[in-house]
Symmetry: C2
Subunit: 236 residues, 2 copies
């Protein structure tokens, strides 16, 4: 319809095009320290503009999908995973985001639990990067990732989002490691666990994690519901 070879007046008349992108966070052990760190998948652009550079996964909004469905499909197509948490981040609509056309991107951010599947889906054009060591990305995607990180840190501090980066069962120390990775600072183990034990959504189980070279920690489980976004208002 709106071919890229359209002349100027045609381009001016065309409505801004609408795209969906996703910032997908997962935890992976750092190669150096072994502690968990934040990673995210990027895709290599195979055409202009920014051909060859890395960019957030995304694509146009198809006619039969809600915004969230489009983001969810996008996520599945690039990582093979289902999101454990998915929330709208922001609609970016600056005039000069793309040099060739006016495009408005509605960006979602997601948390996934990393599995073998995720690694298997890596390829020449899809790779995972440490969130704090991205190079220069296409478009305004560096700014978008920065904002997503800010939002993640914020939700971590106030909301109850850390559990979506972990499996169904977890130890309190694992939760603390998530906080330390995302907030990038050490937390006092004893005080941290006191706070977690005071939140009613964290349920104690009678299971313990065996295998460490120390006292086996108790496993817990998160029983809360995510958020109160318009998209997620009436999810039972």
């Amino acid at each position: 319809m709106y071919s890229t070879s359209a002349n100027v007046s045609e381009r001016q008349a065309a409505p801004p095009s609408l795209a969906i992108s996703t910032v997908i966070f997962a935890l992976r052990p750092s190669e150096s320290s072994g502690r968990p760190t934040l990673w995210l998948p990027l895709v290599r652009r195979i055409r202009e503009p920014f051909k060859g550079m890395w960019a957030l996964p995304g694509g146009p909004l198809t006619h039969s999908e809600s915004l969230q469905d489009a983001a969810s499909r996008n996520l599945r197509e690039t990582t093979g995973l289902a999101p454990s948490y998915l929330e709208q981040l922001y609609a970016f609509g600056g005039l000069h985001r793309s040099p060739t056309q006016r495009v408005v991107s509605i960006v979602y951010w997601a948390l996934v639990q990393p599995t073998e599947a995720a690694l298997a889906d890596e390829s020449e054009n899809v790779k995972w990067f440490r969130a704090d060591r991205l190079g220069d990305l296409a478009f305004d995607h560096n700014a978008i990732v920065d904002y997503a990180l800010w939002r993640l840190r914020n939700k971590l501090a106030y909301g109850s989002v850390a559990y979506h980066l972990l499996g169904e069962y977890f130890t309190l120390a694992q939760v603390r490691e998530v906080y330390e990775a995302v907030l990038d600072r050490q937390l006092d183990p004893a005080n941290f666990r006191r706070q977690l034990k005071a939140t009613p959504e964290i349920e104690e189980t009678n299971e313990f994690l065996q295998g460490g070279k120390h006292r086996p920690p108790r496993l817990y489980r998160f029983t809360g519901r995510p958020g109160l976004d318009p998209d997620n208002r009436s999810t039972p």
Copy 2:
């Protein structure tokens, strides 16, 4: 371009159309109690769908405007006012928001300081309503207003947004009245002022507000910057 009389296959092929809407809050003294309450302007729809019903101010995104500029213009056109605070709320993109076509609305919310001008701009098709006494609105606009109210309450509790509903100089009791109106509960005057006095962005002046039938309260002034949204990142 995409006329409403296009046939089904043409409509399917057309990209979802993109609109900007704004939820504009201002304070006005309640008619009954005289205390400040939240009001917002609505416009009457002059064509289908939902012809005759009240709706949020809005319109299509023009090609030469950023999202925020479009919201700002929208606000000025319906109220004659400039926003004292403007922030993106959410992008609503459900499949069936409008019965006639797929439309994605990027909604902003704003705070304005009410002046004579705002009242003057009321007309047959633009009216202000109490935020807690809206009827049935067009489209999904009731849900949008609910979400905007939720966000306002949230920002009030954590952020520093109340001052944008007041003038440059204000008394601490006026701030408390804003909180009481938005949160809909009474706050202890003494404790509330202790908290405000502890926040460094609230600057004491040497002026006092005369005219009440009681001890004249000191005037204060807000010196902080609003937010950290992508739109407002580099505002000096």
